[in-house]
C-alpha cells in the first residue's frame, strides 16, 4: 500500500532524512518511532504531498507522490501533529468544509460527515465551536477530518501528544478500531503506544531507518532466558552460594534493592541453550529460602530503541556537539514550516 524507496529530503545543507526505505502492506498499522527531530514528520509530509523529496520515490495506494499527487491526496487522510483546525467553526461546520475540500458534495457529503461524527464519538459535541472543545475532543475532530473521505491510507503524526492518560487510551483504541482494513502510519516517540497499537515498527533516528520489522520479531529477537532476576527473603541464609552451587549458573550478582526489609535481589546469568529457570526455583526453595519473585528479563521496546539508537551514535564519526546542533536545526526547520 505504501512503498518508500531511498527517500532523501534536504533542508538547505542539512539532510532531514537520508535514504529512507520501507513498505507497509494493506491493513497494517506501522509505528513510526523515533526521537524528536528524527525525520518522522518530514517523511509523512512527503507522503502527503506537503512537499516533495529531494530524491527517491514513494508510492501511496499505487500512485506516485510526485507525479500523481492529486490521486494520492484523494486516498489519504492526514492528521498533522499540532492538529490544525478552524477553531472558530462548529464541529459539524468544519467537517462539512473538510468533506467539500475533499470533493464530496450533496447527500454523499452529509452521509460522510454523519458517519465520521459517529465513528469518532462526537455526536454530543457536533454543534459546539471547536475552540470550546478540550484537547481530546479536538484530536477527535482532527481524526474525523482525516477520515471524512473514507481514505485507504491514514497518516497520523503523533496523534496522542499532549493528551491526558484517559484521552490517550481513548484515542489509541479509537485508532485501532478505525484502522479496520485501512493502512495506517502512526508516528510517535512514546514506546508503549507502538506495542499497543501497531503491527510493524520502523525506528528512525537522525533521518535514517535504524530497524524495521514486525513487533513480534523485534521483541522475540532480543528475548531469551539467559538473564533472570530473583527476589528472596533470606532469613540470614547465604543465598549467593546456593545459586552459585547450581550446575550451569555462570554468574550471580547481588543487586541493591534499597529496601531494608529482609529481602535480597540477585541477577543470575544462565546458559543460552538451556532453560534452567525451574532448577533455580527448586534450588532456592530446597534450601528453605522464601522465593518471592522470579522474572526473566524481558527486553522491552524501550531497550531495543535505546540500544539501536545508542549503537548508531557510537558508530557516528562526527563529534557529538555537531550532531546535536544538526538535530536541533532540523527540528527548527520542521517547526518553522
Amino acid at each position: 500500500m505504501i512503498e518508500v524507496q531511498n527517500l532523501t529530503k534536504n533542508y538547505g545543507p542539512v539532510a532531514a532524512i537520508k535514504n529512507v526505505s520501507f513498505e507497509v502492506g494493506k491493513g497494517e498499522i506501522l509505528g513510526f518511532l523515533g526521537p524528536n527531530g528524527a525525520g518522522k514528520t518530514t517523511t509523512m509530509r512527503i507522503l502527503t504531498g506537503y512537499f516533495p523529496a529531494t530524491s527517491g520515490s514513494a508510492k501511496v495506494a499505487g500512485y506516485d507522490v510526485f507525479n500523481q499527487i492529486n490521486e494520492v491526496r484523494k486516498r489519504i487522510g492526514y492528521l498533522p501533529e499540532n492538529v490544525p483546525l478552524y477553531t472558530d467553526m462548529s464541529v459539524k461546520g468544519y467537517l462539512n468544509l473538510a468533506a467539500q475540500m475533499k470533493g464530496l458534495s450533496g447527500s454523499a457529503k452529509k452521509k460522510a460527515v454523519d458517519r465520521v461524527i459517529e465513528e469518532v464519538g462526537l455526536i454530543q459535541m457536533r454543534s459546539r465551536l471547536i475552540k470550546k472543545l478540550s484537547k481530546g475532543y479536538r484530536q477527535r475532530v482532527g481524526l474525523a477530518q482525516s477520515l471524512v473521505n473514507n481514505p485507504e491510507v491514514l497518516i497520523l503524526d503523533e496523534p496522542t501528544v499532549g493528551l491526558d492518560p484517559k484521552q490517550i487510551t481513548d484515542i489509541r483504541s479509537l485508532i485501532k478500531h478505525l484502522a479496520g482494513d485501512r493502512t495506517v502510519i502512526l508516528s510517535t516517540h512514546i514506546l508503549p503506544e507502538v506495542s499497543m497499537t501497531c503491527d510493524k515498527v520502523t525506528i528512525i533516528n537522525r533521518g535514517q531507518i535504524v530497524v524495521s520489522d514486525t513487533l513480534e520479531n523485534l521483541t522475540k529477537r532480543s528475548t531469551d532466558f539467559s538473564e533472570i532476576s530473583v527476589l528472596v527473603r533470606d532469613h540470614g541464609k547465604d543465598v549467593g552460594s546456593v545459586l552459585r552451587g547450581l550446575p550451569g549458573v555462570k554468574e550471580v550478582k547481588s543487586v541493591e534493592t534499597g529496601k531494608d526489609n529482609g529481602t535480597r535481589k540477585f541477577d543470575v546469568s544462565l546458559p543460552q541453550d538451556e532453560d534452567l529457570r525451574g532448577a533455580v526455583a527448586k534450588a532456592i526453595t530446597g534450601a528453605d529460602i522464601e522465593l518471592l519473585e522470579m522474572a526473566s528479563r524481558q527486553v522491552t521496546l524501550e531497550e531495543i530503541f535505546i540500544r539501536h539508537i545508542t549503537k548508531e551514535e557510537d558508530h557516528s564519526p562526527e563529534p557529538e556537539a555537531n550532531e546535536t546542533a544538526t538535530a536541533n536545526s532540523t527540528e527548527e526547520e520542521e517547526a518553522s514550516e
Binding site: 529530503k9 534536504n10 533542508y11 538547505g12 509530509r45 502527503t48 504531498g49 506537503y50 512537499f51 516533495p52 492529486n70 491526496r73 484523494k74 489519504i76 492526514y78 498533522p80 499540532n82 490544525p84 483546525l85 478552524y86 477553531t87 472558530d88 467553526m89 462539512n96 468544509l97 473538510a98 467539500q100 475540500m101 475533499k102 470533493g103 464530496l104 458534495s105 477530518q145 526547520e333 514550516e337
Partner: protein, 271 residues
C-alpha cells in the same frame, strides 16, 4: 468548484464571526457618511441656494462666475477620491489575516494535503474579501441616490458617469485587496501583513503627487504617473472610461494573484 465554494463560504462567514466585517463596514459608514454629508452634500445644497439667490438678484456678472450646480461634476470625483483614501486604511484590515492566519495556525498544512489547487484557495479568499468590499460599493451607490430623493422631481443624478465612478472605485478596491493578499501570503504575522499592505497602498497614493509637484522629470515622472493606483481611478471617477485604465487594474489584480500563488507554492522548494 466545490472546494472553491466551501472555502469561500468559510471565509465569508469568518469575516462576520471574527467580526472584521462589522468593524470595517462600521468604520467605513461613519467616515464616509461624515465626509459625504458634512464635506459634500451640505456645502452643495448651500451652493445651490446661493446660486438661486444670485440668479434671482439678476446680477449677470456674478452669475456667470458661478458655474451652474451640477452634482455629478462638482461632487462625485472628489467624493470618490476621499473614499479611496479611506480604503487605504481599511483594505489592510480585510486582507491581513486571509493567508497569514492559516500559516500561523498550521491549518495551511491541511490545505496543502487536500486534493485542491492553491489557485482555488486563493480565489476563494479573494472573492470573500471582495464581497465585503462590495458592501461599501453598495453604500456609495446609496449615497449617490440620496440627492435624487431630496430634490422634488429628481433629475439631479446622472447615472452613467456615476456608474463609471462606481466601477473605478470597485477596481481600485479590488486591486488594493489583491495587493494585500500578497502580503498575507508572505508572512505568518498579521500585523506585519497589515503594515506592509498599508505602506504599499499609501505609497501608491502619494507617488501620484510627484508629477504634479514638478520635482521629478522624464522617465521617473512617467513611472510615478502610471503606477499610482489612486490616479488611475481619477478619470473613471469623472466618468471617463479609458481602456488603458481598465487593463491596468486587471493586470494589477492578475499579477498580484499570480505572485500570491507562487508565494504559496514556495514552501515546496524552500524547505
Amino acid at each position: 468548484m466545490n472546494a472553491f465554494f466551501a472555502m469561500f463560504k468559510r471565509e465569508l462567514a469568518h469575516y462576520f464571526t471574527s467580526p472584521i466585517a462589522y468593524v470595517v463596514l462600521i468604520i467605513f459608514s461613519i467616515l464616509s457618511g461624515w465626509f459625504y454629508v458634512q464635506g459634500f452634500l451640505l456645502p452643495y445644497s448651500l451652493y445651490c441656494q446661493q446660486y438661486d439667490m444670485m440668479q434671482m438678484q439678476a446680477n449677470p456678472m456674478m452669475a456667470q462666475q458661478m458655474p451652474a450646480p451640477n452634482f455629478t461634476e462638482l461632487i462625485v470625483p472628489s467624493l470618490f477620491s476621499t473614499f479611496s483614501i479611506i480604503l487605504i486604511f481599511l483594505v489592510p484590515l480585510l486582507t491581513m489575516r486571509l493567508i497569514s492566519e492559516e500559516k500561523r495556525e498550521g491549518t495551511i498544512e491541511l490545505l496543502y494535503t487536500y486534493p485542491v489547487s492553491d489557485l482555488q484557495v486563493i480565489l476563494a479568499k479573494y472573492a470573500a474579501a471582495l464581497v465585503i468590499f462590495l458592501f461599501t460599493v453598495l453604500l456609495c451607490a446609496i449615497y449617490l441616490y440620496v440627492p435624487e430623493l431630496l430634490k422634488e422631481g429628481g433629475g439631479v443624478v446622472e447615472w452613467r458617469p456615476i456608474l463609471s465612478a462606481l466601477l473605478g472605485y470597485f477596481l481600485l478596491g479590488a486591486a488594493s485587496i489583491s495587493l494585500g493578499l500578497i502580503f498575507s501570503a508572505v508572512t505568518e504575522n498579521q500585523i506585519v501583513s497589515a503594515a506592509l499592505t498599508f505602506a504599499l497602498l499609501l505609497f501608491l497614493w502619494v507617488v501620484g503627487w510627484a508629477p504634479q509637484s514638478g520635482t521629478v522629470e522624464g522617465v521617473m515622472k512617467t513611472l510615478a504617473e502610471s503606477v499610482s493606483l489612486t490616479d488611475r481611478s481619477e478619470d473613471l471617477f469623472k466618468g471617463l472610461i479609458h481602456l488603458s485604465d481598465l487593463v491596468f487594474f486587471l493586470c494589477v489584480i492578475v499579477g498580484a494573484l499570480f505572485i500570491t500563488m507562487r508565494s504559496l507554492e514556495s514552501h515546496r522548494w524552500r524547505g
